[in-house]
Symmetry: D2
Subunit: 305 residues, 4 copies
């Protein structure tokens, strides 16, 4: 069986494991590898082919092979490609479905192309909900190669012709996904600020979960993120036990830097990133410096630790 | 017929006219007034009762009357209430469904309550789509009064129990709607920045409409606003004929000021407002001053008009 | 002795006390009142006239009297004016040298003017350094009235013709002072961010105090605030004992709201205010909501308290 | 004569030419080269040694040579070093006084060090005013090498021990200068916003130049930038003929990116950069997209070009 009806997957974690299962349900023959024997077993138990080495992975696929990498961005992607190359043949396809920087994807495409391999970059959105609802996929690479993988994208996507598309040359997939995440930061921050304002209006004693539920239908701000937010507020209305600590995953900061490089003003996406960074700063030096300046010129009191 | 099964509406424009029609379709008896004879005729033609004076409006309703004001925020609301009061009876209900400042709604509630009238404030979202999809309504006032109007809200809403809710005491409806719009500004700005970045990445030649379509299914940023954006990009992919000029309607700036008053940091909603203000500034003085400063200390060239 | 060579001062705290002393040194006859007997004694010990009641204050001044209020903005100003009015005569001058909102100053001018009194608003900058270096004064009111007080302004200012000026009609003084403080917020934040960045660049092991000292001479960012900052860093290089907690005094937020009202985009002054507000938010709800959203769509871990 | 009492300078433009002259006045023997014969002649006319080739430049200096590069950042610096190296000896010192990225300076140091050369990076501030007032210099490199150049820095600086200093290892000079410029952006933007707000308050008819003059003495916002601003407003009170177009020179955007890399939140420096980028965007796509979104959900009018 050739590319398009079967797929090798490397990385069977939260994302990769679910994708393998959705592919299997969609009639794609999946051969999966993970360093975790447990993850491999889960795959096998579900009815796909789990293997315990890259050699076995490649052996279980027929040329031209398509192997989907679902490993952490950066060095792990380069390392995995380096280990796979000696095992593979010209014309085989590497698919990077992780959160790689689009510049890395452009570089990898050129490196692999020079050696006769194919490379496709897939920005994948959908998170833990993808197994059930399908994954949104933004795809970069050579169009005929992408087209040869159509059955795979159709199986992963929310619908045959929905939620996936060819975006352009190598890197285009990860570029669009990067901006997607930048927008995501901005939307999340907008909602979170709004709910904070409402929560602080103590005199009105507003019910944040109820508001989120009302807004889900008919309002201008209805969205999937709001659906999830309503659900989270239902489970924990005051978000009492959480720390006010927000990670960022890379794409947000890449979007901000790309905007600067392109000379596009993007204040809201940028602020959203800055605010996440701020959430992780403790005993902020900037603020202590402001306090000491106020003291220095105005004699204003400072708080001592 | 009493409050709940019939409704007077003042203001039959884009919003009010559509709401009247949705109510009629939902089995509510509507009596409508507008200064525009044409708008009144449209209502009558559609099968509701159009009248040409406030006196006739009140006469055509049975006590306790409910009259929905759909007039511009500010003075027009006060003026209309002032004209209506002599015509109405104790126990009658004023409903302000427009974009009033919540502080005005709190004031009006207290003024009307002192004279024996009822007042309900309804933040209404849904725009030109409300007729078809229903209106999201955030409602403030005395809960029994709101409850007495339930059939009206059920008819207007996207579903019997969907998209509307009692938010709290007078003013709560307009407060929540105000914040809703602040969030809306932030979401819009996030999308717009993201699409700008992608449009500027000329080397990838990205198709913005296609991206919007892909994101509508399965992605984290899917939303109703994105659905509309995809549609707008389909009609005019480059948005060529538009001016880069963005109005703001009041709620956004009220949200920003409220956040400051409440000591809640809301950088993204605030930036979204600032950016709209910026879009309307011509031959910006701030930027000219930066240019002349750079010239003054560094001898950097300035552009002359 | 008439207005211009003698002055009543109400409020002999940090600011008022120092101003009284600078006036005395400048040859102005000062009569001062404060609720604190200790503050009055300090004034008397220094060689001016301290009094223990408003009646005595007025009695010790000859018409047309000039009385400088150095009391907290808001109600205290109105209360003090109300108590003084019955004791004073038409033509007497009220001077508000505090941090009042300019709209209050405009209102007070009109109220006092209708009763035959004069009113002058003075935005005063200089803080604890004013006694030694002089006060910068931005003055609003009727120009002839301001002119009649010239010797007082000359004595308080850094130089006879330096650092003070007539700005325009009533309110103009406090308006300009308000914007002055908005700019001050922005400058402080710019410095503080820069020093934070440098402090975080651990590999270069930069000496922040030394940098501040170097920049004081010849650099584009040299300023009085930098002089103070260099001094503060000398005393406490790591600002170790301070809390990262920054108050704001009113003028900053008024500037932000005024900018919005005037439709001027002022992102940096606004951000500076937001950042101060942020410094006072604990266990931030916005950030907790972002964390729970990330968990909801991506399964990203959250930190529990 | 050895390093410290004589200096080769490459680049005799606005900055380099003035620095050569200040050095000459300070008793340093200057040998200067520029591609412009006119610039070389100006140097010779002023009493220094102008040469027309790099060979002659090197020949006219005695080992260990010190050559100060005042050429545009980036490739020109690398090219000039490449051309000079074959002409120079081990132990000779390259000084980069331009606006190079500190990472390039770190790289150049290591490359040159491996070949036996010395490298010093000098962040230089002072612009067109440096000849008269002296240059602020932030210096990175090996401390003994920097020390050997002391007479040169003393001659260029505003005072023997003022306005210059050793900042740390190679790159530290340009790093500190980079942040200096980031702060400069923030300060400029703060002033410019403040003056814009005041200029827009038409009812008060404020005199912006007068305000700037008043603030120069005794106020908290007094600074050298304000001195220049007051002067610029004197020459052209309304800044009428200028375009609202602001360049940025590199250091600002590097500061923003460095802050992100270091996980320091720097909203004001960042906004200042974004605002400059915004000043150069024409017929803004972001704003057009906001306009079409408002039209799509609310039927709000859009402006057509």
């Amino acid at each position: 069986m050739a590319a398009g009806r079967e797929l090798g997957i490397i990385g069977l974690g939260k994302m990769g494991g679910n994708m393998a299962e959705r592919l299997r349900q969609g009639g794609i023959q999946v051969v999966g590898f993970d360093f975790s024997a447990e993850a491999v077993k889960r795959l096998t138990d579900a009815g796909s082919t789990g293997v315990s080495s890259l050699e076995d992975l490649v052996k279980n696929l027929s040329a031209p092979r398509a192997i989907w990498l679902m490993v952490p961005a950066g060095k792990p992607v380069d390392d995995t490609i380096a280990k796979l190359k000696p095992l593979m043949q010209k014309g085989d396809i590497f698919i990077d479905g992780g959160n790689s920087n689009y510049k890395d994807s452009q570089r990898r495409y050129h490196e692999l192309e020079a050696e006769g391999f194919k490379f496709v970059d897939v920005g994948t959105s959908g998170g833990v909900w993808g197994l059930k609802e399908g994954y949104s996929m933004m795809i970069g690479g050579e169009e005929p190669v992408v087209e040869s993988l159509r059955p795979i994208f159709e199986a992963l996507a929310p619908g045959k012709d929905l939620g996936w598309g060819y975006m352009g040359p190598a890197g285009a997939g990860h570029f669009v996904k990067m901006v997607h995440n930048g927008i995501e930061y901005g939307m999340m921050q907008a909602y979170a600020e709004g709910f904070s304002i409402m929560g602080q209006k103590k005199e009105l004693n507003l019910d944040l979960e109820k508001i989120a539920q009302v807004w889900r239908y008919g309002s201008v701000v209805r969205s999937w993120l709001l659906d999830l937010t309503a659900d989270a507020l239902k489970k924990d209305p005051g978000l009492e036990d959480l720390e006010a600590y927000v990670e960022d995953s890379g794409e947000g900061r890449w979007t901000v830097m790309e905007a600067i490089d392109l000379n596009i003003s993007a204040p809201v996406i940028t602020e959203s990133l800055i605010r996440r960074i701020r959430s992780r700063e403790e005993n902020n030096f900037t603020d202590r410096m402001l306090a000491i300046m106020r003291n220095a010129f105005g004699g204003h009191a400072v708080k001592k630790d």
